[in-house]
């Protein structure tokens, strides 16, 4: 009888085996594949970022292989032992590791990130079942925080965020490969299997920036000092080649270390304000207004006019912030030098009807055409940066109080632009009328090693006539000469011009704040022709005086002096 029971059991087993192995075979093959066949992404090598340093090209973003140590709690046999090893190699708290190693309902816990190869080997040498390491490539920054916002960083998911890393993510990232393999429980592929598939990854391209590392360092240094001197919370500055659109240096203060972006408390510091933060630029708009009026023939370089020091438009009074010397005859040079709001408004009146003192629909539309299509405000420049802002150009016809609004735009209120848009518009105004797309990429080097040099890209021609450019340069030199900003350079040797702006700041309630102003400056340095255009903004400085003059202008002056001293600006007549 006992044997009969055993024989019966064996018979039942045999039938059961037939059911599992023959009838349900496909089901279990599928279940096995779900478990055993793993698909991996083979990460592509991300392209490195280089930049110029006088005649050399030097790396500023490199890759480093680090490891994520992980565990499958189901397979951990002796959590205490593993935890002790981890503490010995990595430091940390044994209890924390133990908690992760004994986690329920999961088969993947991360024990440590960014572990160096030596430490990884020290851990894996013990061959604890269920403990593994995954290689990950991390960015390293030989120059620390240099150009941080401009570069951006690569997040934990391997995606570029902010700056170049975001804008050129596709170029830099390459194309990940794919591995499908039957693996052991640790994910280590077993020997050749017909289900295995491997597609090789394609490395990303390297890029060479237009940035000059030495100039960038000096810009950052000068900006930091200038922002701190003005007791401001933050500021931005950039240097652009007006004849190619190449950005030579671009920085924001405060900054961060992109290698430790995770430690940043306020993510606002990631933003490259020079391209991503539009603001009411204030009086730095006036040279553009002047150039537009000259260009459309509404005024000429030697035009004089009677400035009443006050206009009433649609019930509101437009007056001048700075000391204007009261009503009187003024020319364009004094209009800019004294930064006359009433003068800028008068220019819009001339666009409406030469000789008139009215603002008309026609005038608004002409000025709007220059703002939008010549100077290209209200749209992105297309620079290789994440989160570039468009800024706002008010509609010339739709909305209330268009005349007042448009009068305001002539001196940079009621319209917003980024420091980069201002630099690009000034460049076009000064270089004879060609609007080059601002750019940061000089070369792209493909995974095959072939380098493609990026050519300057023209976005608009005839922004202004070349005669207008020729007229504007001395007007802006005149402003610099009369603003005691000349300590660092000799204007007889070098052409240095520019314009301050002290812009009112709209508060949270939509009204302008009474005591806070942004200081801006846009100017140029060159010999016979401008070679560098500089754009500076210092937000809400807390020192007395007009923000443009006391906060932004000194930074411009330092930058102009720095360029002349160190970066081979061609003197006049050469």
């Amino acid at each position: 009888m006992i044997f009969a029971l055993v024989a019966l059991a064996i018979g039942v087993f045999w039938v059961r085996a037939f059911y599992l192995q023959v009838i349900r075979h496909e089901h279990y093959v599928q279940a096995a594949k779900n478990d055993q066949l793993k698909e991996y992404e083979i990460p592509a090598q991300r392209g490195v970022i280089r930049a110029h340093n006088s005649d050399e090209v030097v790396p500023i973003v490199l890759n480093q292989k680090l490891y994520t140590i992980y565990a499958d709690p189901v397979l951990i046999k002796d959590a205490d032992k593993v935890a002790n090893t981890l503490v010995n190699v990595l430091g940390g708290n044994a209890a924390d590791y133990r908690k992760k190693l004994t986690a329920k309902d999961t088969r993947y816990v991360v024990l440590a990130k960014k572990v160096e190869d030596g430490k990884r080997q020290a851990i894996l040498r013990n061959k604890y079942p269920g403990v593994g390491a995954q290689e990950l490539s991390y960015r390293t920054y030989p120059n620390g925080s240099l150009a941080a916002q401009l570069l951006g960083f690569v997040n934990d998911e391997g995606a570029g965020v902010y700056g170049i890393e975001q804008a050129l993510n596709g170029t830099l990232a390459g194309k990940a490969g794919e591995l499908k393999a039957v693996t052991d429980v640790h994910g280590v592929p077993l020997a050749a299997n017909s289900d295995n598939v491997r597609i090789a990854p394609v490395s990303g391209s390297d890029v060479v920036l237009t940035i000059d590392v030495a100039m960038q360092k000096q810009l950052e240094d000068i900006l930091q000092k200038g922002v701190e001197r003005a007791k401001s919370a933050h500021g931005s500055a950039l240097i652009m080649d007006p004849n190619t659109g190449a950005i030579k240096a671009m920085a924001n203060w405060p900054t961060f270390d992109p290698g430790k972006y995770g430690e940043v408390e306020d993510p606002a510091v990631f933003t490259n304000g020079a391209v991503a933060t539009p603001l009411e630029v204030g009086s730095t708009m006036k040279p553009l207004t002047t150039a537009a009026a000259l260009d459309m023939g509404a005024v000429s370089a030697d035009t004089t006019y009677f400035d009443p020091a006050s206009w009433t438009i649609e019930g509101y009074k437009i007056t001048n912030v700075e000391e204007d010397g009261g009503p009187g005859r003024k020319n364009l040079a004094e209009l800019l030098n004294l930064s006359l709001n009433t003068g800028a408004t008068w220019l819009l009146m001339q666009m409406s009807k030469p000789g008139g003192t009215e603002i008309t629909k026609q005038g608004r539309e002409k000025w709007h055409d220059y703002l939008l299509h010549h100077y290209r405000f209200g749209q992105v420049t297309g620079i290789e940066q994440g989160y570039e802002a468009e800024g706002i150009v008010p509609d010339p016809n739709r909305g209330d109080a268009r005349n007042l609004t448009y009068a305001n735009t002539t001196f940079g209120q009621g319209i917003t632009a980024t420091p980069l848009q201002m630099a690009a518009a000034y460049s076009a105004m000064l270089n004879g009328g060609t609007y080059y797309q601002p750019r940061l990429i000089d070369q792209i080097i493909g995974p095959d090693g072939k380098a493609a040099t990026v050519q300057p890209k023209v976005l608009a021609r005839n922004v202004v006539k070349s005669s207008t450019s020729e007229a504007m340069q001395p007007l802006l030199e005149y402003v610099v000469k009369n603003h005691s900003a000349t300590a660092h350079f000799d204007q007889s040797l070098y052409s240095v011009g520019g314009k301050t702006g002290t812009a009112q700041v709209a508060g949270a309630d939509g009204r302008y704040k009474a005591n806070d102003f942004n200081g801006t400056y846009v100017g140029f340095v060159g010999g016979d022709k401008p070679e560098y255009v500089i754009s500076v903004v210092v937000y809400e400085p807390k020192i007395s005086g007009y923000a443009g003059s006391v906060a932004a202008q000194p930074i411009f002056a330092d930058l102009a002096g720095m360029l002349i001293a160190n970066f081979g600006v061609t003197p006049r007549g050469r």
């Binding site: 064996i10 087993f13 599992l20 023959v22 279990y28 061959k127």
Partner: protein, 415 residues
């Protein structure tokens, strides 16, 4: 079965009773085949497992198994040549040795999940429960045979109470201290089958059975992980991640083997997916490698093996040897059924090895010692199975013929 043979111990003597004759070599052939199957499977997964476990030697498990088989051959040589009457004298020494092993494991052994089951001696691990089962087997055979002789099987004080005490001790030691419900079950099954064959009154057997059921319910309902295991068994697919993991992976291994299997070197489940691949789960790995055809062969080998043991059991010359073989049969059969049943998802998982096949020192050594006993008994089997209470003995003449020096003249007279 259930037949009580009233042949006294004293009469068991080759000179006065059944002659020593040719043993049942089929036991050796099939046993060796089963051991070979185990070695082949262990050999094929040893390198992979060695890599998983971080062992230096790729064939570490094979060497361990070969050492165990070597020790098993020695154990076999001893038991296969030990006079059968010796076992009654070894009753007490074996019980003492078993008790000592329990203490040793508790003191020197390695604690795993609150249970003390193992002791490590020079790279080999010794599982004390194997010795406990062996001592139980030998003691019961002697004890029950003595009660049969004295005619006191039905007496409460004489036979029933000692059995209850032993059962209680098993419960405390194996189920309690060693927390090994599976082995307790095997031991209880050995006791039950031997008591049944010895002819313990059915009333007493049922009483014990009811007690065991009550204890089992208590053990399961008071221990969280046992409850969990039971629920897992009832619904394995629900819980592939945690406790149901092993059961689930075992089914995947068996099922993915298909008709012909993945081939000897192509097991995937052994590489970390199925826990205890070389040990408790080895049947599933075998099924994955060799498919339904392989499973048919292996089940056939086990069936043939048990048939041979049954044959020896039915023709055992006296009570002690018969009861020994009954216990051995139950021991091996219950372990095989619990183990294979669990791998096929028909029974809950228990930490029970598959005799002959599973890697594991103590299991292999004791299994071979058991086969030695059966082999020795097979030298003294009677010609045919006794019927009812018929006291006539029949010698297996076919076997005797082949024994060198057997007397041909006696053949006829025995019939």
């Amino acid at each position: 079965m259930g037949v009580v043979t009233r042949r006294s111990f004293a009469s068991f003597d080759p000179t006065s009773g059944v002659r020593r004759h040719r043993p049942d070599y089929w036991l050796l052939v099939i046993g060796a085949a089963l051991l070979a199957v185990g070695l082949i499977v262990v050999y094929s997964i040893s390198p992979g497992l060695a890599a998983e476990q971080g062992s230096e030697s790729a064939l570490r498990l094979v060497y361990k198994q070969l050492v165990a088989v070597g020790l098993g051959v020695i154990a076999f040589a001893i038991t296969a040549n030990m006079p059968l009457k010796m076992w009654e004298r070894l009753q007490t020494p074996l019980l003492i040795a078993a008790a000592l092993s329990v203490v040793a494991v508790r003191v020197f052994g390695e604690e795993v999940n609150g249970a003390y089951r193992w002791i490590h001696i020079g790279g080999l691990s010794f599982q004390s429960v194997e010795l406990i089962k062996f001592a139980l087997l030998v003691w019961l055979a002697g004890f029950l045979a003595a009660r049969i002789r004295a005619g006191t099987l039905g007496d409460f004080k004489q036979s029933f109470r000692p059995l209850l005490l032993i059962l209680g001790a098993l419960g405390v030691v194996v189920a309690g201290v060693q927390s090994d419900l599976g082995s307790t079950g095997v031991a209880v099954a050995i006791m039950a089958s031997m008591a049944f064959v010895a002819g313990l009154p059915m009333r007493n057997l049922l009483l014990i059975g009811a007690g065991v059921v009550v204890l089992l319910v208590l053990a399961v309902s008071t221990t969280g992980y046992r409850q969990h295991r039971l629920m897992t068994f009832l619904n394995p697919a629900q819980d592939c991640l945690d406790t149901g993991y092993q059961a689930c992976q075992a089914l995947i291994a068996v099922g993915s083997g298909g008709m012909t299997g993945l081939g000897l070197g192509n097991s995937v489940q052994a590489f970390g997916y199925l826990p205890e691949a070389e040990n408790d789960s080895i049947f599933a790995i075998y099924a994955e490698k060799f498919g339904f055809i392989g499973v048919t062969v292996l089940l056939g080998l086990f069936l043939a093996f048990f048939a041979r043991i049954k044959r020896v059991m039915e023709r055992a010359p006296d009570d002690v040897s018969r009861l020994l073989v009954v216990g051995i049969f139950t021991w091996l059969a219950v372990q095989a059924i619990i183990n294979i049943g669990a791998m096929l998802g028909l029974l809950p998982l228990k930490g029970i090895t598959l005799p002959f096949i599973s890697q594991g020192g103590s299991s292999v050594v004791f299994v071979m010692a058991l086969i030695g006993i059966v082999f020795q008994v097979s030298r003294y089997t009677l010609y045919s199975a006794p019927r009812q209470t018929d006291n006539r003995r029949y010698e297996n003449i076919d076997d005797r013929r082949r024994v060198r020096g057997a007397y041909n003249a006696n053949l006829g007279s025995r019939r």
